[in-house]
Amino acid sequence: MLSFIGRSIIQKTVTLFFVSVVSFLIIHLAPGEPSQVDPLNPKFTPEIVERFRKEFHLDKPMYVQYVYFYRDLFTGKTVSWKDNQSVLAKIWERFLNSLPLFIVGTVITWTLSFPVGIRAAVGRSGLYDRSTTFLSYLLISIPGFFFAYMLIIVVVTRFHVPVIGMETFGLGDAPWLHLIMDRVWHLLLPSVLGATGGIAILSRYVRSQMLEVEGQDYVRTARAKGVPEEQVHYKHALRNALLPFVTMFGLILPGLIGGSVIIESIFSWPGMGRMAYEAILARDYPIILTVNFISAVLVLAGTFISDLLYLVVDPRIRL
């Protein structure tokens, strides 16, 4: 166990190092430079550009830039090229905005997928199963922003509530219940949209996992000895079918920093995805690289946690 942990930590650190190198190369080898973003701006005189390049080490060789960048990142001194603010502080601020979306979306995904998937598996090839199957394909196939616009039109014209942004501007001293409902309405649509794909995929996975277990011998044995159908499904089959999902808790970790660019731009939600998108537009390399680095850390940490959970939960696997 300990040797497994040690080995995988070393392996993941090495992977992380290469991720940092590759992302640095992708950003810096691409044509164009941040100093060229706005050539028509009269403030961008050659002297200023030269000073800019010097300030951010752009005139040094690539490997020096790499060392400088990651030294700054680990000491927390990286600053955005656009406004000279600390990158980590900016990310933290946006992260707090994205967090409610992530939490509500994840809760919706996990609470809806299981009942839907289990019911589909229990009544397999019935009407419910077939219609949820079709519905989940539909949800995977619909372009996110198209779906978003349809939902916005429905909600705005039927319920007459504003949904764009994080809260309605200028509500000042409205009663607190009103304020809370306003926040809830604003939160609801983007999180539901963020959850649709997840619900579709996860419920299909729950269904196939459940069917797999229902075909096992011990389920047949349980049925043969006269255990009521309810108990067979929920006590014998479900418990074993849930095993792989425990490990999936690790895999939701990367979603923390992902934040959908498209959904956040539609709803003018000042979250992580939007920030990354704006950073790409402005060629704000420190932000792009930092977001990328953190998300790589989360992906690796997520797989590590899910491996560990598997070890803990499933006694059959001892690596």
């Binding site: 090495v14 992977t15 992380l16 290469f18 991720v19 590759v22 992302s23 992708i26 950003i27 691409a30 044509p31 164009g32 199957t133 079709f134 394909y137 539909l138 995977i140 196939s141 619909i142 372009p143 996110g144 922003f145 198209f146 616009y149 349809m150 039109i153 069917l211 075909g215 990367p254 920093i257 992902g258 660019v261 498209i262 731009s265 990354a276 998108y277 790409i280 537009l281 060629r283 792009i288 977001v291 990328n292 998300s295 790589a296 992906v299 690796l300």
Partner: protein, 327 residues
């Protein structure tokens, strides 16, 4: 009585005869596919989409196309579907090919039907080229890792570590970054989508190769002195292609969605090419005045992507004997 007896005998001898499959593999697959109604519907739409895209290519290109997707008629903007053109206000060459605006016109008075036809071809190319690149890279990388990994473990480790590294990047964010940094062009988008999505097929191919390389026919081929590349391409890849085909079908759907998402953010296929993605993202400004500009491309993308997904899943069931009983 004797008749029955001889019948029984002949039945018996049938059972003892060498078991030749009565139906060919293809026919068997077709039988299985027919049981999955959703997959058949998917296949039909898939084929229709192909035909539409080809016909669209023919009708919308050339010097004097029947449906001109780029013809601007400012006096005829935002006309609803099936409305007749105002013949007095138009020069003869500006009259739409079908005599009516089948799907209406957009904010520049361009015929939406013509633009959708052109977009079908562009979406199809984006999907196929992107997936083609990703499948080629995936097969090559996965094949090399799986085949040469037998004698040189370091090659296998090195390649699979690289796959792990690539999987660490958030894919849409990576695509967005690269597309935004490169000059805008249709080919860049295809290449970028292709080069960021090969990891899945590489893993499938490697996994298949790990078991295939231990099998007798590979040993036999090697004993005959067939060279490595011929073994890989002629003997092993045909046996490992099934899961790749499935993931490619679903990959085309994903690529079309990705292109639409990029268009929405303003990094899609640049004008003058119409794609369903950029018609949709241009149309959203007129969503209340001209809903057809949003709904026509939106539903077109939805239906085509849905058909690819349904057909892909059907294909997976057919090609996976373990799942057959279950569906």
């Amino acid at each position: 009585m004797t008749n029955d007896y001889t019948k029984a005998i002949s039945k018996d001898s049938d059972a003892n005869a060498p078991a030749v499959p009565r139906r060919s593999r293809l026919r068997e697959s077709w039988q299985l596919l027919k049981q999955n109604r959703l997959a058949v519907v998917g296949l039909v739409i898939f084929v229709l989409f192909f035909c539409t895209a080809f016909i669209g290519l023919v009708l919308t290109t050339g010097t004097n196309p029947i449906f001109d997707p780029a013809m601007v008629r400012l006096q005829e903007k935002l006309r609803p579907p099936l409305s007749r053109p105002n013949l007095e206000a138009l020069r003869p060459e500006e009259v739409p090919g079908a005599g009516v605006y089948l799907l209406g016109t957009d904010d520049l008075g361009r015929d939406l039907f013509a633009r959708m036809l052109q977009g079908a071809w562009v979406s199809l190319t984006v999907g196929f080229v992107a997936v083609g690149i990703s499948v080629l890279v995936g097969i090559l990388v996965g094949g090399i890792a799986g085949y040469f990994g037998q004698n040189h473990t370091s090659i296998d480790t090195l390649i699979m570590r690289f796959v792990d590294i690539m999987l660490c990047f958030p894919s849409f964010f990576l695509i967005l970054t690269v597309v935004a940094l490169l000059p805008a062009s249709m080919y860049n988008i295809m290449i970028v989508i292709g080069l960021t999505s090969w990891m899945g097929s590489a893993r499938f191919v490697r996994a298949e190769f790990l078991s295939l390389r231990e099998q007798d026919f590979v040993t036999a081929a090697r004993a005959l002195g067939v060279n490595d590349w011929r073994i890989i391409f002629r003997h092993m890849i045909p046996n490992a292609i099934a899961p790749v085909l499935v993931s490619a079908t679903i990959g085309i759907a994903t690529a079309i969605l990705t292109e639409a998402g990029l268009s929405f953010l303003g990094f899609g296929v640049p004008p003058p090419h119409a794609t369903w993605g950029n018609i949709l993202s241009d149309g959203r400004r007129f969503i209340f005045d001209a809903p057809w500009l949003t709904f026509a491309p939106g539903f077109a993308i939805l239906i085509v992507v849905l058909s690819f997904n349904l057909f892909g899943e059907g294909l997976r069931d057919i090609l996976n004997p373990k799942l057959r009983e279950r569906y």
